[in-house]
């Protein structure tokens, strides 16, 4: 049987990879890819705690499903913003989208 720690360390590593992507990539679409990795890492934790806690209590899986819905909403709005910015400014590099910086 796999101990709980393996899942938690796996999720922590995946979360850190996503964090690195968010902080280091220049392309706005690549930053959203990093956010997806972080959301998946959180979901692994939720599913693992459901399985290793009380299986009768479905709160962990319900929470993971809500995270799915929020991730879909976040991606649709985020990519629409990127496409809109690309159309107006002709760039998707996050450093160059600085209209609100002065």
């Amino acid at each position: 049987m796999v101990p709980l720690s393996w899942y938690l360390i796996f999720a922590a590593a995946l979360f850190s990879l996503g964090l690195f992507g968010v902080l280091s990539r220049r392309n706005a679409v690549a930053i959203l890819l990093g956010i997806e990795l972080m959301l998946n890492a959180v979901n692994i934790n939720l599913a693992a705690f459901w399985r290793y806690g009380n299986v009768m209590d479905m709160a962990g899986q319900v929470f993971a499903i809500i995270v799915f819905a929020v991730a879909a909403a976040e991606v649709s709005v985020g990519l629409a913003l990127v496409i809109s910015v690309y159309r107006r400014r002709n760039t998707v590099v996050a450093d160059e989208i600085d209209m609100m910086k002065w």
Partner: protein, 172 residues
């Protein structure tokens, strides 16, 4: 080492390797395709955890919808896909340091927790997790309110996405 542990290790290494490629590949179409294999690895992890419904939803929603949406977005912003110059910003080493420190901090926190080496109890005979999940999602005594709020959020987000991406100049 039992068979389950070997399956877990193979899947975890595959997922982390794909995740590493997602954040380091230069070509964004390739990064989106690596994201598909990462998401598939996570779906297998759900299956190993006996969360069958989550595994199916992961494949249908994440791989079928979100990853495809990413590929569309990369193609619509095509000019910058192979843009010249570095794919990482100049502070990438700081991001890497912060990511390593986050992992180290989480690892350190986990080491101090007593429930860490816990193993899962067997699922009781006759317990159908998918049926129970469906009941709880629509039961007023459980999670019907978050469920409905999530659906309203999704509708609002999709309407907002259409509005934001609408091109007023072409009028379509």
């Amino acid at each position: 080492m039992t068979g389950e542990q070997i399956v877990f290790l193979v899947v975890a290494l595959f997922t982390l390797g794909s995740g590493f490629m997602v954040v380091t590949t230069r070509n964004l179409v390739h990064a989106a395709l690596w994201l598909v294999s990462t998401l598939f690895g996570v779906a297998v992890t759900y299956a190993v955890l006996d969360a069958a419904f989550l595994a199916v939803v992961q494949v249908v929603v994440y791989i079928g919808a979100i990853a495809i949406l990413f590929i569309f977005a990369v193609m619509l912003t095509r000019k910058d896909v192979r843009d010249q110059g570095p794919q990482m910003n100049k502070n990438w080493w700081f991001g890497a340091l912060l990511a390593v420190m986050t992992f180290g901090g989480l690892y350190f926190l986990l080491q101090g927790w007593s429930g860490l080496s816990k193993t899962a109890a067997a699922i009781p005979a006759g317990f159908d997790a998918v049926a129970e999940l469906g009941n709880e999602l629509v039961s007023p005594a459980a999670y019907v309110l978050p469920f409905e709020v999530a659906s309203v959020l999704l509708v609002a987000a999709l309407v907002g996405a259409v509005y934001v991406a609408f091109n007023p100049r072409s009028g379509k």
